[in-house]
Structures are given as C-alpha cells and as structure tokens.
C-alpha cells in the first residue's frame, strides 16, 4: 500500500517563544537562571544548579566555532555564542572552511532553525 500522508502541524513553542521569535529575526535570545545567573543558549529551563530559568538575555549574536562537520547531510557547526555558557549545534551557512568565528543569522525558512554564517555578514 502506498500512502502519502500530509500532516500540517501547528506547534506552540510555549515558554521558548522569546527564543524562537529571536531566531526568526536573527537575534540570540538566551535564558538566564534565576538562582545562579547562568546564561544558556539555546535556553535551558532547569539549570544544573537546580534553579529555573527566570529571565531572558539578548546576546550580541557572535560566536566561537568549536567544531564542524559537512557532507551529504549538509554543513553544521558546534558553536558557543559570546555571552553564553553552553554550546549548540547550528546550520553552517556559507561559513569559510577554517573560520573560528561566526554570527547568528535570521532563520529564513519555515523552521525556526539555528543558523550561523560568517562573522562579518551584515
């Protein structure tokens, strides 16, 4: 049996809404722990200290590139945004091969994806 099922999801980001809205605009919105002040990007609801995220912090959007992978599946990078204590995996868009720095770009597709490009990008 061949069946082509189309599922038009309408998913709510919930508490992540400020972060998701930021990704669409190219702004890096991180969570801040109410107990220890740890800044996490992407946001972390429960902190390693046992506290909860209680505030949002907008980061500059620049990042250190920690690792890269590329091939048939696309190009991705492990990056740590300046001002954040945690790293994240992002789409690497037009990032020069040996770039050590990057910048968050606005997610232009349907999905609110983490995308980074060259640091000097407009």
């Amino acid at each position: 049996m061949r069946l082509d099922l189309h599922l038009p999801y309408d998913l709510a980001p919930g508490w992540l809404a400020p972060h998701v809205d930021g990704l669409r605009e190219g702004r890096a919105v991180a969570s801040r722990c109410g107990a220890c002040g740890l800044v996490s990007f992407p946001p972390r609801r429960a902190c390693t200290c046992g506290g909860r995220a209680e505030d949002w912090a907008t980061l500059p959007g620049t990042a250190a590139v920690l690792a890269r992978t590329e091939g048939r599946d696309g190009a991705f990078a492990l990056v740590r945004l300046d001002g954040a204590a945690t790293a994240c995996v992002a789409v690497a868009h037009d990032l020069p091969p040996h770039a050590k720095r990057a910048r968050l770009l606005a997610a232009t597709g349907e999905r609110p994806a983490l995308v980074v490009g060259p640091e000097e990008a407009p």
Binding site: P42, T69, E70, G71, D73, G74, C88, V89, A113, L114
Partner: protein, 401 residues
C-alpha cells in the same frame, strides 16, 4: 541471594530470580512484503517455543517500537497483543528512541520484580527500511534530539554523532584507522550471523572511499536502516517449566539520561549517561566492569562503539585495544559478536531486545556457530542508548552465583 541496589533505585530486590527463559528474532534487513505485525509474531513464537510456554502463560506484553510514523499504527501494544494471542493480558508500549528495546527489557523485569506479572513477553519491532524513503526516516530521526533546538536545524543523527566523535577522538588521539577497524570487525562477525542485515567482508580502502555523509563519517561507518523484530520471555525461575529453570538471569540493570541538547553538555564526546547506567547495573549485580566477558554495545556509528567502551569502563584505551584484537571474536573481551548495529542491523525497537537475546544465548552457549565462544561468558552486557546517548540502559545477563 538478596542484593542491595544503588541508592535511589530498588532497595532490596531478588533480581537474580528473573530469568531470560526464551529468545527469538527475525532476520534484520529489508522485509518489503511483511508487516511489522508479521515480524513481531515470528520473533514472539520463537521465544515462546524456547521458553517451553504457551501464549496463555504470558500475563503481560511490553512492546518496544520507536515511532508510529514508521508503522502508522497508534496504540500498537493492544494490536500486537491481539495478534500474539495475548488479548486480556496487560500491555504497554515503550519508546525511548534507540534505547526502546533496552528500556522495554528493564520495564518487563521491573514488572516481575514488583509482583505485577509472572511471565512477560518483550517484543521489539520496527520497520525503518521499508516503510518510508530513507531521507524521510533521517528527517524524523533529526527530531530524536530536542525538536525545538537541533531538530529545527535539520541536522541528522549522523552529523551529531560526527561532532561527538570528533570531540572524543581529539581527546583520545583516535582517527579514521580506528573507525575502519570497528567496521571491519563487526561486519565480519555479521558474516557468521544468518540473521544479519549486512554480512560484508570489507576492507579499509572500501570504507575510506565510501560517500562522505558528515565528516568524518562515511556511509560505511553508519549502521543501516533495518526492518526486524526480536523477543524475549522473562519470568521468575519458579514460574518456568523444569527444563528452563536454569536459564540465564538478569544480574543487574541500570538506566540514566543526559541533556537532550548535546551542545549543552560539558563534553559532547562523553557518553555520561552510559557511565551512570553502568554504575547502577554493576552496583545492583555486585560486580565490577572486569567481570564482563562479552558485550553487545550500541554501535550506531563506528566511533560510538569506542565511545561506549570508554564510558562503560570496559577499556581504558579502546582504540589501542581494538587494534590489538582484544574485542575480536577470539579476543579476551569480544564486542558485538552479533555484528552489532553496523552488521546485524538496526530496527530501533528491536535492537535492545536482540542484544538481550544475544547475551542470553552466549551465556547459555547456544549462539551461532563460529561466534559462540568455546567457554561461554559468565556475564554478558547489553548496552543501548537513544538520541546521542540521551537515554541509556545497561543490562547484565549471566549465571546466578
């Protein structure tokens, strides 16, 4: 013997009373004309026969199946229970990504230990090779991580495992030669496993020239998408026919989780949840890592096997000991005699159940000819995980002391 478990887990349990009375599995591979229900029934019937039981003896079914997106069957446990002749029995479905089967085995054992059931069938099944195009399955797997984080980037499991391997390899000084050794070892083992998906005699040059998927992982470093099912029947020793009361026992089991966002972990290359799960399983069994004499570990990718051996504490230098042959068929600690996910195949729901089945057969001395060690291992280990070792289970199977 009553054993004291890790703090926070079961306090005092008579764990060694839980026997792996019967096991069964289908061939792993592509089954174009068979449904997941056909596969589940074949594996269940084989396990039941080995246990010397009838369907009427089974009072609970634990079904491991990763995603309804593969089968297009929601609430599958009752449907499968009906096919197996278990209508009326308790039934539950377990899902934990690639760890689904491992979690299911532990859920079934816990059910017996709690006195809720006497004889439990665990059936793991998935049809990832035939139900959807490969690219669609890879897209779905991307949501095995945090769907609102990595999932939205479209990153594949292969790319995340590649980044994880890079971190571990940089720390341990490992490289492409080590990856190739894992592939060649496991696929060579699979050549002696008549149920394996990829029985292949490959060489390092072939691995190195296969298409690049996510650097440094190439196609031949990756486990395949497979269809298949596996089953085990667990029961208290006293609830088994006389001929199966000496069946291998579950000696210890542990489970743990890690952050679903791998970039947020302290070390993306460290399978920390596996380390915790192993500690809990060893505590429960009253054993040390050095007591393990064979292991089926979760080698979704070649590097993941070495990362697992490190986290499980089975090797202080996995790459060096791999090169020296310690983990080969005739080595001191054979790893993935079945071929592992790389060789035997990887239907996610079935994987952990098949690992437990393999361990039980090895301990009984009944595994496939050419793969069965001449002296059966006293303790064999089944290691599964889901996500990027986000959910981990370790189950120790052996002879009761």
């Amino acid at each position: 013997m009553w054993r004291r478990a890790a703090a926070g887990a079961l306090r005092e349990v008579r764990l060694t009373e839980v026997a792996v009375a019967g096991v069964g599995m289908t061939r792993f591979g592509r089954h174009r004309n068979r449904s997941f229900r056909d596969l589940a029934l074949e594996a269940f019937d084989a396990a039941l026969l080995m246990a010397g039981l009838d369907a009427g003896d089974i009072d609970a079914l634990v079904l491991a199946a990763e995603s309804d997106a593969f089968t297009l069957q929601l609430n599958p446990s009752a449907v499968v229970a009906g096919d197996l002749g278990l209508t009326g029995a308790a039934a539950l479905r377990v899902e934990a990504g690639g760890a689904s089967g491992g979690v299911a085995v532990q859920a079934a054992a816990a059910r017996i230990l709690a006195g809720l059931s006497r004889r439990v069938a665990v059936v793991g099944v998935d049809v990832t090779a035939s139900s959807l195009p490969g690219d669609a399955v890879r897209d779905l797997y991307g949501f095995s991580f945090d769907a609102w984080g990595e999932g939205m980037t479209g990153v594949t499991a292969t790319a995340l495992y590649a980044l994880s391997w890079q971190a571990w390899a940089a720390r341990e000084g490992a490289g492409d030669d080590d990856l190739a050794r894992v592939v060649l070892k496991n696929r060579a083992n699979a050549c002696l496993n008549p149920l394996a998906h990829l029985p292949r005699t490959q060489d390092a040059a072939e691995v190195a020239s296969s298409p690049l998927v996510a650097s440094p992982y190439r196609r031949l470093h990756c486990s395949p998408l497979s269809d298949g099912a596996a089953a085990v029947v667990l029961a208290r020793r006293a609830d088994l026919p006389l001929g199966r009361r000496d069946a291998p026992r579950i000696l210890g089991m542990g489970a743990a989780t890690d952050l679903a966002q791998p970039g947020g972990r302290g070390d993306m290359g460290d399978f920390a949840a596996k380390r915790t799960a192993m500690g809990r399983a060893l505590d429960m069994a009253g054993l040390g890592a050095g007591d393990v004499e064979a292991a089926e570990v979760y080698d979704a990718y070649a590097g993941a096997e070495m990362q697992a051996l490190d986290a499980l504490g089975l090797s202080a230098d996995p790459a060096r000991e791999l090169a020296q042959g310690r983990f080969g068929r005739d080595g001191a600690l054979p790893i993935n005699l079945s071929g592992g996910l790389l060789g035997q195949g990887a239907p996610p729901g079935a994987t952990g159940v098949a690992q437990a089945a393999t361990c039980a057969l090895l301990v009984e001395g009944q595994y496939h000819e050419g793969l069965q060690p001449s002296r059966p291992p006293r303790v064999a280990l089944a290691d599964t995980h889901g996500g990027l070792c986000t959910t981990a289970t370790v189950t120790l199977i052996g002879r009761a002391a």
